[in-house]
């Protein structure tokens, strides 16, 4: 039984969420991953969406953060101002769970623009709540497919702040999940490879990273998806390769 890169990333991302945590879920892959986790090892995961939805129990994969299903199955829906000021800004969100177009060695995420801001090559959607989430969630986990464009030494535009140029915030980037491996951030706030998918070498990862990558002392292999994980993924329709 095989799965797609997208599906594998969702499973690895899901494993990083702990039961009972409050996770602010971004669109796309993070949404898939959070819903996988809630159906498996983290049934009490509190899914929060920046649309103001608190503790959703979506019966199927929500199509967007404004999906009517999220509202129907939520504990409550807050005005987004209350969510950002009274829950996010105050430290009550454990995990920011984000995607993006680019990430760099400090964990800075770009979802604003490829090329210069004033003369963009590609204009993207912009922050939404991502910059707020990356700034105020207790830790951030990012899911992003890996290639040299997406992993530059420095992103074209810092939308969601990572660790500062020197040092490490107590909050901020904690993990990055790609289709090659899993990364954390060392005590200097620098991204570090900690494990790889079966069949992926450190060299493969380095070749698709735009800077000399730090490598953990021991690199482990990411356990393959379990049958239960694959079942849930299929149920959520996330097994197929999709455009994202």
């Amino acid at each position: 039984m095989t799965t797609s890169r997208r599906g594998e990333m969702a499973i690895v991302g899901a494993r990083l969420l702990r039961d009972g945590e409050r996770v602010l879920v971004g669109v796309g892959l993070p949404n898939l991953a959070a819903n996988v986790a809630k159906r498996l090892h983290a049934p009490h995961l509190v899914l929060v969406y920046e649309s103001g939805v608190i503790d959703a129990h979506p019966p199927r994969l929500p199509l967007s953060i404004g999906d009517p299903d999220l509202v129907r199955t939520s504990l409550c829906v807050l005005p987004i101002g209350d969510l950002f000021s009274q829950y996010l800004q105050t430290g009550w969100i454990d995990v920011g769970f984000l995607g993006g177009a680019q990430i760099d060695r400090r964990g800075n995420l770009n979802s604003t623009v490829i090329g210069p801001y004033d003369h963009p090559k590609v204009r993207l959607s912009g922050s939404g709540g991502a910059a707020d989430i990356a700034s105020f969630a207790r830790r951030t986990i990012m899911l992003i497919p890996q290639d040299l464009q997406r992993f530059p030494a420095a992103v074209d535009f810092i939308t969601s702040p990572g660790h500062p140029k020197r040092g490490r915030r107590t909050q901020g980037p904690a993990s990055v999940v790609t289709d090659l491996g899993l990364f954390d951030f060392d005590e200097e706030g620098e991204m570090r490879l900690t494990s790889v998918y079966p069949g992926v070498s450190i060299k493969d990862v380095q070749q698709r990273t735009g800077w000399p990558l730090r490598i953990a002392q021991e690199i482990s292999e990411i356990p393959p998806p379990t049958p239960a994980e694959l079942d849930v993924l299929r149920e959520l329709g996330g097994g197929q390769e999709a455009a994202y």
């Binding site: 649309s51 404004g66 009517p68 129907r72 987004i80 090559k121 204009r123 939404g128 707020d132």
Partner: protein
């Protein structure tokens, strides 16, 4: 006190060239009927504000009503980018002023409270590097917070479930920044799915969105939020959001779509007649699940 006007008359009377305009709604309750009417009446040089521009602003930008966009997330929800917006920015044809969601809502909160600014914890990214948010030192300790300026639209346009004869407006489900955007505005224009008698709504006080004395006009516009949705009334037309992704990549297809679905129709009723009837019925049915 709110006046009962057609969508046409409300826009004709209260939306003028050069204004700062906010079409409210967060995925949910997007006032497409108003947006299309603004296009039909050929307003120009508007500053469009909205946390999530969504398709409605993509269409309005394509139609040439806007010089400027104040926003925080310009995506096609669940699908990716807003193609008209993207191209307009890439070509330098649209001036933009960009925030995070929290910052933009904070600007509205200040407007709604009649204050010149709103405080929030400061955040450092390339948006704040380009346009620094001023800091204010707390008089009660050493802390500094960032502040953003009030946003006070000339007009905020809202779509809601219903209103009563006195213009009291009711809505529920995702409300995003609707209330703040409305209360921050000098004028509030509302379209609703239906007018219901006040007596029947008095027990719905938890869904009261805006009291009638704050509202300039009420317009009846069934399906006024399509292809966006009204919780419990009709679902989001996801197929159209996907279709727009295709249409909007092609300026000619976009032009044709606007000509056919906006400019060639006199009003929302006529727009709805252009859609396959079973499509609207299906959206209604899908919304009838347990809420």
């Amino acid at each position: 006190m709110a006046e009962l006007l057609t969508v046409h008359d409300a826009v004709a009377r209260y939306v003028a060239d050069d204004q700062v305009v906010y079409l409210a709604g967060f995925t949910h309750l997007i006032p497409f009927a108003f947006g299309h009417e603004i296009i039909r009446q050929r307003r120009r040089h508007l500053t469009l504000c909205r946390a999530t521009p969504d398709l409605v602003y993509d269409q309005m930008i394509a139609a040439g009503v806007a010089d400027r966009l104040v926003f925080s997330y310009a995506g096609n929800p669940g699908l990716g980018l807003l193609q008209v917006f993207r191209q307009a920015v890439q070509r330098g044809e649209l001036e933009i002023e960009e925030y995070t969601h929290f910052e933009l809502v904070a600007r509205l909160s200040a407007g709604a409270a009649g204050l010149p600014f709103w405080p929030l914890r400061s955040l450092e990214n390339d948006l704040t590097a380009r346009r620094p948010r001023p800091r204010v030192r707390s008089p009660f300790g050493d802390e500094e917070v960032a502040v953003v300026p009030a946003l006070r639209p000339d007009v905020t346009l809202v779509h809601a479930h219903c209103a009563d004869e006195d213009g009291n407006v009711y809505a529920w489900g995702l409300l995003g920044e609707v209330k703040e955007a409305a209360l921050a505005a000098h004028r509030i224009l509302v379209s609703v799915e239906e007018i219901r008698p006040a007596a029947s709504l008095r027990r719905e006080r938890d869904h009261l969105l805006i009291p009638g004395f704050r509202v300039q006009s009420i317009s009846v516009a069934p399906f006024g939020a399509h292809p966006s949705y009204v919780q419990g009334v009709y679902d989001r037309d996801t197929a159209f959001y996907t279709e727009w992704d295709r249409i909007s990549r092609d300026p000619e297809a976009t032009r044709k779509w606007l000509a056919r679905f906006v400019d060639a129709v006199p009003d929302r009723e006529a727009y709805l007649r252009l859609l396959p009837p079973d499509r609207l019925a299906a959206l209604k049915e899908a919304a009838q699940v347990d809420n």
